[in-house]
Amino acid sequence: MSTGGLAVLVFLSFLVPVPLLAWLDRPRRPGAR
């Protein structure tokens, strides 16, 4: 892997999971299973 590839990988690895983790953090609706 090139240094540029490493930089892109680091950037994406810290950005891509954020929406998923934030969504998983949302409170469940009352009564939801």
Partner: protein, 182 residues
């Protein structure tokens, strides 16, 4: 450190539920989000080292990761959230600085005091424990996530899917393990 930064953000969420989750997650990763463009534009330097843990050498990361710049980025990021109140803004700022504190454990001495400083900090777990660092980070993730789960009782405004969250963190940590070829 990778997933440990996300786990730190979740622990801060559990401590201050009013703080926005996405902001905490981005904040906890901000120094590495800055590192990437800084490398691409030549402000910072790194070398890929497949034979030496953790697979890369961070030769000059003073603008994104030095102690002084970590404080600067933390204060700047916190100020973006000042309208949400001092507690939330401070928490977001600390999310950024938590990155420096956690990297201090893992990195070899590549964290400068300030840009261009000859003094570099880092306990170097990546080098001292070429595979063991992964378990140390796992222990931190478990502790931080455990705190998050304990605080996310029914009725709280966060932590709705702890099992899926744990699974996601586990997958990310496995992908970042020293046994996965890079």
């Amino acid at each position: 450190m990778y997933v440990g930064h996300f786990a730190a953000a979740l622990a801060l969420k559990a401590r201050v539920p009013r703080a926005p989750t996405a902001g905490l997650l981005v904040g906890a990763g901000l120094l590495d989000l800055l590192f990437a463009p800084f490398v691409l534009f030549g402000l910072e330097r790194a070398t890929v080292t497949p034979a030496v843990s953790p697979g890369f050498s961070l030769d000059f990361i003073d603008w994104s990761h030095s102690l002084l710049m970590s404080v600067v980025w933390s204060v700047g990021f916190g100020l973006l959230f000042r309208r949400r109140g001092a507690v939330v803004a401070t928490t977001l700022g600390f999310a950024v600085f938590s990155h420096f504190l956690l990297d201090l454990v893992m990195h070899p001495a590549d964290l400068a005091l300030w840009p261009g400083s000859g003094v570099h900090l880092g306990l170097g777990l990546w080098r001292l424990l070429p595979t063991g660092w992964w378990f140390v980070e796992l222990g931190f993730v478990a502790a931080a996530f455990g705190y998050y789960v304990v605080r996310s009782r029914p009725g709280t405004t966060f932590g709705g899917r702890p099992a899926l969250m744990a699974g996601t963190l586990a997958v990310l940590h496995l992908v970042n393990s020293p046994w996965v070829p890079r």
